[in-house]
């Protein structure tokens, strides 16, 4: 053959040798349909393929927004319109106009949307991945995680939008402790990853899961401190009901997040701890359930 192809072949051989050095090229497939695969190699492989999840999410975002008139602008318009709708609703119900509350509402809705869309789009992610899942071996957990990444990148443009409102309505609240809100944002992301994985696996077995979810998410939003603030309910209800309200993971996550960003108060230790515990519990249960089931997906989706 000609010289260039020789050179290419040599390159290929070198890169194959390099590859043999760094990645496992030996595979053993034994029977473990409902069991867990060895978790450390699984997560190592997952991490190695993160670029694929990122590309899948980028591709989704590109193809979703290119065909509409406003395109990328919808990422900001959509939550803004939602916030406006709820603001009108709350103003009518309360019969009072409180611009500072609008800031609270937008912050809460933007953050809740991050979790809500992670869950609803994560649930559909596996069943809609179709041929990709039937024909290519890779850690399936990448699929719901890519949906969470998409939700996060849809959340990002709402951050500057929020700070515009913050600058208008809450001029007096600026402090370094606002940075701590990132902790609650992180717990929300981890929590969303766990839920997305859990519902993605459930959706394979019960295809109506994704039809229930939007209603479940909507009710969940009303139960979370978004349309109301924690201080609104504390005097109004008795002990057991307060406990129930506080058991909602979003109470701690959204509550702590908005408190740090919008008030001088500091979240209670309960909020810090329960947010982390909920996030970790959701991630562990969701991931393990998903991983224990994922090898069956290929036959369930045919």
């Amino acid at each position: 053959m000609t010289a260039p192809s020789d050179a290419r072949e040599k390159r290929a051989r070198v890169s194959r040798a390099r590859q043999a050095e760094f990645e496992p090229v030996y595979h053993f497939y034994g029977p473990h349909r409902a069991g867990l695969p060895p978790l450390i190699p699984y997560f190592r492989e997952l991490w190695r393929r993160r670029a694929f999840a990122a590309e899948m999410s980028r591709a989704d975002m590109r193809s979703a927004n290119t065909s509409t008139f406003f395109g990328q602008l919808w990422l900001i318009l959509n939550p803004l319109l939602l916030a406006a709708v709820y603001y009108v609703l709350v103003t009518i119900i309360r019969r009072e106009n409180d611009p500072a509350f609008f800031a609270h509402l937008t912050l809460g809705i933007f953050a809740f949307q991050l979790v809500g869309t992670s869950v609803t789009s994560g649930a559909k992610s596996v069943t809609s991945s179709g041929k990709l899942l039937l024909n290519t071996p890779f850690p399936r957990l990448l699929i719901p995680l890519s949906a969470v990444r998409t939700a996060f990148f849809r959340f990002l443009p709402t951050v500057p939008v929020y700070f515009v409102f913050h600058a208008i309505f809450l001029t007096h609240v600026w402090s370094p402790k606002m940075l701590l809100s990132l902790y609650f944002l992180a717990t929300m992301i981890v929590f969303a990853m766990g839920l997305a994985a859990f519902f993605a696996a459930l959706q394979v077995y019960f295809r109506d899961t994704s039809s229930f979810l939007p209603f479940f998410v909507r009710i969940w939003m009303y139960l979370s401190p978004i349309l109301w603030a924690p201080e609104h309910i504390l005097g109004r209800f008795s002990g057991p009901i307060i406990t129930l309200i506080q058991l909602n993971p979003m109470y701690s996550m959204i509550g702590g997040y908005t408190e740090l960003l919008q008030s001088d108060a500091f979240p209670t230790p309960y909020m810090w701890i329960s947010a982390a515990v909920w996030a970790l519990a959701a991630a562990v249960i969701g991931f393990l359930y998903f991983i224990s089931r994922e090898r069956e997906f290929a036959v369930r989706l045919v």
Binding site: S15, Q19, A20, Y26, E55, S63, K131, L134, T136
Partner: protein, 266 residues
């Protein structure tokens, strides 16, 4: 240790070892399994899962340098075997060992995002196959050029004909420096000129890859491309041997005359 070295007893090292493999999968016969259906069934005391015995106690091993053809009637378990060797379907019992990274081009096609261009799907396909971003970007243009789709490569894949999609899928599978290449009924939609090119590429890969598997109903291409063949029927391994002998036995079994249609290329 080099995997490509010859073992001390003069035999080539194994590329794939399938050991007493059985695959029985349970799948629902419902078009869409829903909670509603599950509740109705529960009320009636029915079960909706059906067991499919796709592969029954198959054992074989494949040494480095083998191009293995897999033939058999529809529903014989060829695609299931390929999926199992690619690590997509788990064995019910038995085991599969694979030395090397498999690149698959399976019956249903790669089929990524139809709204993305061919070029973007090539990147996505490479990443799915486990290459790093840098490796994919190095290859993407070469792959895109190899498809010979011209300007279409940057248009959404929903505008492609089935043959054009097949070109993209084939190119992705063969350019990802596979150790083990698995091709399942890949080129049935390609045109004559592309088939020619694809066959040449597969011949080249047969020499460079550690092993190749080819599922095809085109018995001619099995004879032409492969140096070994196995014949599956209803999940059982019927025969293994030289492609010519296996093809003849299979044709005798299904009573097909050596017609042009049966020997037609993949």
């Amino acid at each position: 240790m080099s995997l490509l070295s010859v073992l001390s007893n003069g035999e080539l090292p194994l590329a794939v070892k399938v050991n007493d493999l059985s695959i029985t999968y349970r799948t629902t016969f419902e078009r869409k399994p829903t909670l509603k259906q599950a509740l109705i069934r529960f009320g009636r005391g029915q079960r909706a899962v059906r067991e499919v015995e796709a592969i029954k106690n198959i054992s074989f091993d494949v040494r480095t340098g083998t191009a293995m053809g897999i033939i058999g009637s529809n529903g014989a378990g060829k695609s299931t075997l390929m999926r199992a060797m690619a690590g997509i379907l788990p064995p019910t019992s038995g085991s599969i060992e694979v030395w090397g990274r498999a690149s698959t081009l399976l019956a249903l096609g790669v089929g990524f995002n139809k709204n993305l261009s061919g070029r973007e799907n090539i990147v996505l396909g490479g990443l799915a196959a486990g290459l790093s971003r840098r490796e994919v970007e190095e290859r993407a243009d070469e792959v895109a050029e190899w498809t010979e789709l011209g300007d279409f490569i940057d248009m959404p894949m929903r505008t492609y004909s089935s043959g054009m999609s097949a070109r993209v899928e084939f190119s992705v599978a063969v350019h990802m420096k596979p150790d083990i290449l698995m091709i399942d009924e890949a080129l049935s939609t390609g045109d004559a000129q592309f088939r020619e090119k694809a066959n040449a590429k597969m011949a080249e890969l047969r020499d460079s890859a550690r092993a190749m598997f080819l599922v095809s109903h085109g018995l001619g291409s099995i004879k032409q491309m492969c140096n070994e063949a196995i014949w599956l029927d209803k999940g059982k391994l019927m025969m293994r041997g030289k492609p010519g002998e296996v093809v003849n036995a299979y044709m005798k079994f299904v009573k097909v005359k050596k017609s042009a249609a049966a020997m037609e290329d993949i």
